[in-house]
């Protein structure tokens, strides 16, 4: 059961890296969050703690429904081309991400001392998701891609937290969720502003402040 969920997370991340258009990217993000929800739900069943259930539910509501809906609304409101503006074409970025997988596997295995085999895989997948988020942010031009990259990294962290130490204290989890949601709204607000002022959301052209 654990393996299927992890495979699902991996697959959605690879899809995200290949995506060329923003709606596709959001859809794959939705899949990844759904698999993440399944993972936390599995852990919740195993640990049988009430707050884990609430967190899983919260995760589903925010990450799977609210944020993607919010992002899609932004795209519709802005008459901007849906092209993601890749620095690196799809094939090369896929190769990169494969390299990242190996890197995170080595990192998890050698440096962090995992207790058992299952935890090692979980650690590797978590770090891989973080690295992929990083990749998305650096090698995609549009502002929305950067927001999604940020969310993917946050997903990776959440996966790490829930698997490794059985999740952080309940109150902190809620606060982190709330923070993530607020930051997405604020970034969306700024994307509107950029679009109004610069008539495009290609962040790479934003280079008036030099030196």
């Amino acid at each position: 059961m654990q393996a299927i969920i992890l495979f699902g997370v991996l697959a959605s991340t690879y899809l995200m890296v290949i995506a060329k258009r923003t709606p596709a990217l959001i859809r794959y993000f939705r899949y990844q969050s759904f698999f993440l929800f399944l993972a936390t739900f599995a852990v919740a069943i195993e640990e049988r703690q009430i707050d884990l259930y609430i967190i899983a539910g919260l995760l589903f509501v925010i990450k799977v429904c609210a944020i993607p809906y919010f992002l899609n609304r932004i795209i519709k409101r802005m008459k901007v081309s849906e092209d993601l503006g890749l620095f690196v074409n799809a094939q090369l970025s896929l190769l990169c991400v494969l390299g990242f997988t190996y890197l995170s596997w080595v990192f998890a295995e050698r440096i962090l001392a995992p207790r058992n085999e299952a935890q090692a895989i979980m650690l590797a997948v978590a770090f891989f998701v973080v690295l992929a988020g990083m990749f998305l942010m650096v090698f995609r031009m549009t502002a929305l891609a950067q927001i999604i990259g940020l969310l993917v990294m946050e997903n990776g962290l959440f996966l790490l937290a829930s698997t490794v130490s059985g999740g952080m204290p309940f109150f902190v989890e809620i606060a982190i969720f709330f923070d993530v949601f607020v930051s997405v709204i604020i970034m969306g607000f700024f994307v509107y502003r950029i679009n109004k002022l610069f008539t495009h959301i290609d962040v790479n052209k934003l280079s008036r402040l030099k030196g």
Binding site: V172, S183, I194, L197
Partner: protein
């Protein structure tokens, strides 16, 4: 008890700003509110230093001398910024740059920003520490993008993206710390006090990696060298009192967070690891800021790079450790905050009058604005580290500490960079301040509140500069006290 008082006032003021429409009445109320915060923090600091006990309420609020010191620094600068923003915002409204409604938003954000910054040192749980810092980023993003023109929006966007990435790394580090802590017993808690208690038994390897993530994460927020790229853009585009708060105090809260985790790693892995990392990043930030200051054209960016330089010096100070090192660094935190705030206020006035950031255009500030010009001149020399002012004392302490520890190369790099930066500062500021007044510039009379803010800060720079060599006992004692956490 005062801690609630300190945290509550900004919230009330934020609500007040929301309710009271008339901006003129509210701004003075705001200043009085922060005066109360200042008084409370002074009482708190005195109580903490004397009573030596770290007390915590409902396992959520926890503070000791270190956090009391940082709360004191934050409240000093917040009060000065509140005082200054009275005249600054009024001038902006009169000149039609911002509308009445925007001023209201400004005050709401200002208070929320101060609340979140005051929250950071008070929080015990490391997760909540992360949340508080995330809040400061989000709120200050609005304040950076306040003027809604192309540059400020770009600066705000860069600020929010880079700091969010940095903070995510910090979250990664926090999780690894909790993972290392959970390896010991199976109890799951992120409370700092528990972690410090049994830091010795934690797994060394994980602590090392965790601290690297923390250092890079909160280092981005603190503006340490390779991750400083957002700082010049954000500080040069923000509203003047806000950029004073940003570079005076926000960077220090991030340093505070690094210190908190640093204490754990020192107990866990040993001082050398923490020290070398901090000194390395300090030297890199000194080198980069020195390069940029030399060829800078924009006044506010020059001050922003100066913050990077001083943050570098502070991190070297903490990295060296020992009574002199840490004492010097803590002193430098306060001195730099005060001086930088004064300089940003002065720069705000200048930019307001000359309508440009470009230093080649600004001439004869002493002629057009005698009071601000004089303050800028004194501030520039204070910043560059001339003796009658306090920064010189703390810099000498840090150099002494570095020298006594035996890092000769670091000392000569430090002295070299400080000398080059001194030359650049004098070169830039003498060009701006002196020289003939450009045509059509009238001598302007500054409002009283603006002057009060300047005087309040200037007195502190000079007082410390002169008094400090003589009061020595309690500073050292406080340092020892602080460092055990």
């Amino acid at each position: 008890m005062q801690i609630f008082f300190i945290l509550a006032i900004p919230i009330f003021l934020a609500a007040g700003a929301f309710l009271i429409g008339k901006q003129k009445i509210f701004c003075t109320l705001n200043a009085i509110g922060y005066l109360a915060v200042l008084v409370a923090s002074v009482m708190l600091l005195r109580k903490m230093v004397l009573s030596e006990s770290a007390n915590s309420y409902f396992s959520f609020i926890y503070f000791d001398a270190l956090s009391a010191f940082f709360i004191f620094v934050i409240s000093v600068i917040a009060f000065a910024a509140a005082l200054y923003s009275i005249s600054y915002i009024k001038k902006d409204i009169d000149s039609g740059v911002i509308s009445e409604r925007k001023a209201k938003i400004y005050y709401i954000l200002f208070n929320l920003f101060c609340f979140s910054m005051l929250l950071v040192p008070a929080v015990n749980n490391l997760g909540m520490l992360w949340v508080a810092i995330e809040m400061t980023t989000l709120i200050s993003a609005f304040l950076v993008g306040f003027y809604n023109n192309k540059e400020s929006i770009e600066a705000a966007w860069k600020y929010i993206i880079i700091c969010s990435v940095g903070i995510i790394f910090a979250l990664l580090g926090t999780i690894l710390f909790s993972y290392a802590f959970s390896l010991l017993g199976d109890v799951k808690s992120l409370n700092w006090s528990d972690m410090v208690a049994n830091a010795g038994r934690m797994d060394k390897n994980i602590l090392k990696i965790a601290f690297i993530f923390i250092l890079v994460g909160y280092g981005t927020k603190a503006g340490l060298a390779p991750m400083h790229t957002w700082l010049p853009d954000a500080h040069s585009q923000a509203v003047a009192p806000i950029s004073a708060l940003l570079s005076g105090v926000l960077l220090k809260t991030a340093i505070y967070a690094i210190l908190r985790f640093g204490i754990i790693t020192i107990k866990g892995v040993g001082f050398a690891y923490f020290g070398n990392l901090m000194v390395l990043l300090g030297i890199i930030s000194l080198a980069i800021s020195c390069g940029f200051i030399l060829v800078q054209k924009d006044l506010k960016r020059l001050l922003a790079y100066h913050s990077i330089e001083h943050i570098g010096i502070i991190s070297i100070g903490f990295g060296i450790g020992g009574i002199l090192g840490v004492g010097g660094a803590l002193l430098h935190v306060f001195n730099h905050a005060v001086t930088k705030a004064l300089m940003f206020f002065g720069a705000g006035n200048v930019v307001n009058k000359y309508r440009t950031h470009n230093m080649h255009v600004i001439r004869g500030v002493i002629g057009t604005m005698p009071f601000t010009g004089f303050m800028l001149l004194m501030g520039a020399f204070a910043l560059a580290g001339m003796p009658p002012f306090s920064i010189f004392i703390s810099e000498i302490l840090i150099i002494c500490a570095v020298f006594l520890k035996g890092y000769y190369l670091v000392t000569f790099l430090l002295l070299g960079f400080i000398a080059i930066i001194f030359g650049a500062v004098v070169h830039h500021f003498s060009k701006i301040l002196f020289g003939s007044i450009p045509k059509g510039m009238s001598v302007v009379k500054e409002p009283l509140s603006g002057k009060m803010a300047f005087l309040f800060l200037f007195v502190q720079i000079c007082a410390l500069g002169i008094v400090l060599p003589f009061i020595k006992k309690d500073l050292i004692w406080m340092v020892q006290k602080l460092f055990q956490g």
